[in-house]
């Protein structure tokens, strides 16, 4: 025990020394995929580049990509801390426990863990309210569909994905009571071939709008080949598939948050926070709505975005019931973050069960 303390003590002294010698702030990023994945990791790396852009010589960024969750991630984080990083972003849910472990050893280094729920004095968590974007998608999808069938390519049955399905469904249903959702669980975040197959299966079964919670553009290409099918970009803009089939998108925009947190470290004002931001702060961006969407629908969608930005509208506003018919939210009541964070039920009207 004493030996570790001694060692980490020495390490920290070194880390402090290097930090003091150079007056640049060092920011580390741990990525779960390659920066060339065109989706999740790509957008985090865009955020990193924005930090470099914003601070110039005052900040040095480093990253390690394709880091497996588990002991490898713990080692990479420790490595960054030893090498003098002042702030480390760990950008995958599976890095949660490793981040907490490493943070204990380096009390003077700040950590930011994406999408998790464990915090400490030097560990913040941050995540995006993608379901706000899903509400806009649901609205547009409900208006656009002629077959009244909307396909949804889901990844894993976890709260974040279930929130997205519920939010999209609630808003599609609102504008189109006959709408029906067909949901495929792909059990992957990223497998272009499988995503293409899933999109094709949905289209062949009559879906003319495809929503996806997986990261590749394969469903976009499948929709384009089929013609007359609408899609939405996921994680990144996927603008190359506009104006049809891609009519809009949800963009993960980490840059403002990364810049703000880096600034806080530079200023010495960093504290541990739990950030769950959405459209209001720009962490979730709605990609351009193309002309394939009728002007009135586009106006309504933009109005909804504006209402959320102003904090006047919450996507989960009662009256809403759960799938089994039990009451969830009373008229005018909005969902609390605790329920949303652990959401494990469908809202009323969705068919099928969430796989367990």
């Amino acid at each position: 025990m004493k030996l570790t303390k001694l060692l980490t003590g020495a390490a920290m002294a070194l880390a402090l020394a290097t930090g003091a010698m150079a007056d640049t702030t060092k920011v580390g990023f741990v990525y779960v995929g390659p920066v060339g994945d065109g989706g999740w990791t790509y957008e985090h790396d865009q955020g990193r580049l924005a930090v470099e852009e914003a601070f110039g010589d005052k900040v040095e960024t480093v990253y390690v990509e394709s880091v497996a969750e588990g002991p490898d991630s713990e080692r990479v984080m420790t490595q960054m801390a030893l090498e003098g990083a002042d702030l480390i972003f760990t950008t995958s849910f599976g890095y949660m426990d490793p981040t907490i472990n490493v943070a204990k050893k380096f009390p003077n280094v700040k950590f930011e863990h994406a999408t998790g729920y464990k915090r400490a004095d030097n560990v913040s968590t941050y995540s995006a309210r993608f379901y706000e974007g899903r509400a806009v998608q649901g609205h547009i999808a409900g208006k656009l569909t002629k077959s009244n069938t909307i396909g949804y390519i889901a990844s894993y049955p976890i709260p974040e994905v279930i929130r997205g399905i519920n939010s999209a469904y609630v808003h599609a249903k609102k504008v189109n009571p006959d709408v029906e959702f067909k949901i495929i669980w792909a059990y992957t975040w990223f497998d272009p071939a499988k995503e293409a197959d899933a999109a094709k299966a949905l289209i062949e079964q009559g879906a003319d709008v495809i929503l996806q919670h997986t990261d590749s553009t394969a469903p976009q290409a499948a929709a384009q080949a089929a013609g007359n099918v609408y899609t939405f970009g996921q994680a990144s803009d996927m603008a190359e598939y506009g104006p049809m089939p891609r009519v809009s998108s949800i963009i993960d925009n980490w840059a403002p948050y990364y810049i703000a947190r880096t600034q806080a470290v530079i200023d010495g004002t960093w504290t541990s926070v739990d950030t769950w931001d959405g459209i209001p702060t720009g962490m979730v961006k709605i990609g351009e709505i193309t002309d394939a969407v009728p002007a009135d629908v586009k106006a309504e969608a933009l109005a909804m975005v504006e209402a959320m930005r102003a904090g006047e509208y919450h996507p989960f506003t009662g009256p809403l019931k759960k799938q089994d018919g039990s009451d969830w939210l009373a008229d005018g009541e909005t969902a609390d973050d605790g329920t949303l964070a652990g959401m494990n039920f469908y809202v009323e009207g969705l068919e099928g069960t969430i796989p367990q």
Binding site: T4, L7, A11, G94, D97, Y156, Q356
Partner: protein, 360 residues
């Protein structure tokens, strides 16, 4: 004309020299690659090979070499016994997963009880799980003559699907807000494979790997069974006359490699990894095959080869962080190292002769 002539006996000098030559050749070609990518080649290679061992923060990286190398060595030792006898288990990845599942499953079944016997039971369950998974190709081979290479490989995919199913279902952490993955065994004292001496990286998996090396060495050099293994690989027909029972040998070799792979999985899940999750396996079972061959199927060689692989992983991550090398460049570099190490082994068993073959 250049020909290969088989040496009457493997050359001792070359078997020691080739790994060094291979590493040097990799440094040369890898250096060119790094230079093409616009990085300082000398600095990159120094970072990969020197930094983890003797750099400023070696006090942290050296223990990590044990953590990263132990599962590789443990699995490779088991595999090498079979490989020597011509029994090809290439499904260690699957046995590793199953060992982790059964071991962690036993531990989680006791949660939250604290008792001294939980961890030993988990170790037993992990070994048994890996052993049982390897028994499938073993029994199919002895009963029906089915090719064990292919069956063991197929079972890797099956095991991966089982892992996903368990992470999302049976073993999912009930307090995890619906996220996939089990409880963290690091936070469950009786089930935690903690460092034996803090800060050294020594956990039970490392101890097991070292024991396995010694055990394999003794077995191969001092024991009848080891003699039979070597004989079966080198001269199958002679082995029959020497009274080798092939089915028994198959069951033993596949069983021991499965059990060791299962143990590696258990030690990993209960220690460094902490939890069962969908992406728990990171390819140790496949990398261990390469480690076994890099080590020339010799216990001591495997120990060194496992260390070398761990070094390139850790050094590669440091090079990514410090020099901004892409992960893909590190992968290519590792690929080169393996190619050179495997290819140059030729010189141990063959000599290159120039000129026409002599008339016999």
């Amino acid at each position: 004309m250049i020909r290969l002539e088989k040496r009457p006996q493997p050359s001792r000098a070359w078997s020691l020299a080739t790994p060094l030559v291979a590493v040097l050749a990799t440094m040369l070609f890898g250096g060119v690659l790094f230079a093409v990518l616009g990085k300082d080649p000398v600095e990159a290679i120094r970072t990969i090979f020197w930094e983890p061992l003797f750099g400023e923060f070696a006090f942290y990286y050296r223990p990590q070499l044990l953590v990263k190398g132990a599962p590789l060595v443990l699995i490779a030792i088991g595999l090498s016994l079979g490989f020597r006898a011509g029994i090809w288990n290439i499904g260690a990845e699957g046995q590793y997963i199953i060992g982790a599942l059964t071991g962690a499953g036993v531990g989680l079944a006791f949660y939250p009880m604290e008792a001294f016997y939980i961890f030993p039971l988990m170790v037993l369950a992990g070994a048994l799980g890996g052993w049982a998974w390897a028994m499938i190709p073993a029994i199919l081979k002895t009963r029906f003559g089915t090719n064990e290479i292919l069956v063991s490989l197929m079972l890797v995919y099956v095991a991966e699907q089982l892992l996903a199913s368990m992470s999302l279902g049976l073993l999912k952490n009930p307090e995890g807000f619906g996220f996939p993955g089990s409880r963290n065994l690091q936070q469950y004292d009786s089930a935690h494979n903690a460092e034996l001496i803090a800060g050294t990286g020594m956990h039970w998996g490392v101890v097991a790997a070292l024991i396995a090396v010694i055990f394999a060495y003794v077995l191969l050099n001092r024991h009848m069974l080891g003699f039979q293994i070597r004989l079966t690989g080198e001269a199958p027909r002679a082995a029959k006359f020497a009274g080798v029972n092939p089915p028994r040998l198959i069951l033993f070799c596949l069983g021991i490699s499965g059990a060791l792979a299962g143990l590696a999985g258990l030690f990993e899940v209960a220690g460094p990894a902490g939890q069962v999750s969908i992406d728990f396996n990171v390819g140790y079972g496949f990398t261990a095959i390469i480690v076994a061959f890099l080590g020339r199927l010799h216990p001591v060689g495997i120990l060194l080869a496992g260390g070398l692989m761990a070094l390139t992983y850790i050094g590669g991550d440091i090079a990514q962080g410090n020099l901004g090398l892409p992960a893909a460049a590190i992968q290519v570099f590792q690929g080169m190292l393996l190619f050179f190490l495997l290819a140059l082994d030729l010189l141990t068993n063959y000599r290159i002769a120039i000129g026409k073959p002599e008339a016999a």
